[in-house]
């Protein structure tokens, strides 16, 4: 019986038979459909996904003409802070543009949180200004709402993660609501400074990392940014496939935020005025790549079907079918890309 090389969700190589791959594809599709209450992939789509997974060649690519565009989170930091190459960030923008072939990139601070950036924004704006003078492609500024940073002892509000185990539910909710106000104020302030520095857009990255209040902060900040700076693009990136209900009762425009999957998250991002939505589907490290990518494509297809704004699916380590691995293997990375674009109808990565 012939076997095909693929990977597990942690990146480890594994050989699977055709039957095992097809079985995992079906299970992945059904898991997403069940959790998200979204349609399953058709048999034809699952057959094509099988073809993509088992294609010969170390890497694969999309059909000619199906190429999409890319945005990033902490894009220029990958060279500077992450790879530890001593390089000023506006130079990293040019490397991304002229050497790496990026369609856009975002500049971010090491901390990558709006709360931290607010205090040093006067040193961040010159980096953006220099980048804008020298770069041709769009350059965004990116950071996370990161609501947890607003809790004591580092921040001004009570820590809801400490209050909840004490059954102080109302106090935990009040703390989160207060943190939202602080976060929105900081995000809009930084966005204004970056607008005055020439930024093409603001990337609100990993919205929902601290739960539904974090997601709400991103939505309210998007609303205010578009009110004050209508020409400034906003990319609203989610933190996960499912918004955690750390608060549980928060709503945006009459919709309860906790528990939303990507196809409903995107509608709130649209209402808030976002120009691009960054969809996230989490990778399960215990399951195979066929299971993970089938599940991801099922969620994504439902999301792009209802979206009126472009959807850039997150394909970093541990999301979008990509293994949770520090150096994601290109064999499955390129197969994930092809599946997400050709079956999931992603507008970008």
């Amino acid at each position: 019986m012939s076997e095909f090389f693929t990977r597990m969700g942690d990146g480890a190589g594994v050989y699977m038979t055709a039957e095992e791959i097809r079985e995992d594809i079906l299970k992945g599709v059904k898991d997403a459909a069940d959790r998200g209450k979204v349609p399953e992939l058709t048999q034809e789509e699952m057959d094509y996904l099988y073809q993509i997974i088992t294609m010969p060649g170390n890497i694969v690519g999309v059909e000619r003409g199906r190429e999409v565009v890319s945005t990033s989170d902490s894009g220029s930091c990958k060279i500077t802070y992450h790879a530890n190459i001593a390089m000023e960030r506006s130079m990293a923008v040019l490397v991304s543009e002229k050497v790496l072939g990026a369609d856009s990139v975002d500049i971010g601070n090491m901390d990558y949180s709006y709360k931290a950036v607010k205090q040093i924004v006067h040193n961040e704006t010159p980096v953006m200004e220099l980048a804008q003078l020298n770069a041709v492609m769009p350059v965004l500024y990116g950071s996370m709402p990161n609501l947890g940073l607003y809790t004591k002892p580092d921040g001004p509000v009570e820590n809801w993660s400490e209050l909840l185990p004490l059954a102080k539910i109302s106090e935990a909710r009040a703390a989160q609501e207060e943190a939202v106000e602080h976060a929105v104020r900081d995000i809009v302030f930084v966005a204004g400074e970056m607008y005055e520095a020439g930024a093409d857009g603001i990337n609100l990255d990993t919205c929902g990392a601290s739960g539904d209040a974090d997601f709400l902060a991103g939505l309210l900040a998007t609303e205010k940014i578009k009110e004050k700076y209508p020409d400034l693009g906003v990319e609203f990136g989610a933190a996960g496939e499912f918004v955690l209900g750390m608060h549980g009762k928060l709503e945006y425009d009459g919709t309860k935020i906790a528990g939303l999957y990507p196809h409903k998250q995107v509608k709130l991002a649209e209402k808030a005025g976002a120009n691009i939505f960054g969809a996230v589907v989490n990778t399960n490290t215990n399951m195979s790549f066929p299971w993970n990518i089938a599940r991801t494509v099922t969620f994504l297809k439902a999301c792009t079907a209802v979206a009126t704004i472009p959807v850039h699916v997150n394909v970093g380590m541990g999301v979008g079918g990509i293994p949770m691995s520090e150096i994601p293997p290109i064999d499955v990375v390129t197969r994930a890309d092809k599946a997400l674009i050709e079956i999931g109808k992603a507008d970008g990565l």
Binding site: D200, I341, D347
Partner: protein
């Protein structure tokens, strides 16, 4: 890099930056953004990912390239040409004009 090679337009090597601008500025989905840019450049959407063809078109319009030609528009200069050709406002171009006093008195 894997994403760029496998599935993306590769920025200023082709027309990836132009298509992304339309997504960011006008919330256009990928096919609409490609069609808009293609119409402005007088090519088909599929041509936008052809690095050989786009190198010529970018040189012709002064859009900036990975390996800039001598005496050709670069950086903010190229973005003036992009804004004009695509019919959009680019924030850094608007700021440059304001700070250099280029939008006073019809200059």
């Amino acid at each position: 890099m894997a994403h760029a090679v496998s599935s993306c337009m590769s920025g200023i090597r082709t027309a990836g930056d132009l298509v992304l601008r339309m997504q960011l500025a006008k919330s256009m989905k990928i096919d609409a953004a490609k069609q808009y840019v293609a119409d402005k450049l007088g090519v088909k959407p599929i041509d936008l990912s052809d690095s050989d063809l786009m190198a010529e078109i970018r040189a012709k319009h002064g859009f900036g390239r990975s390996f800039d030609l001598n005496k050709s528009p670069k950086g903010i200069e190229a973005k003036f040409n992009i804004a004009r050709k695509l019919g959009i406002k680019i924030n850094s171009v608007e700021l440059f004009m304001a700070r250099a006093g280029l939008n006073k008195g019809g200059a």
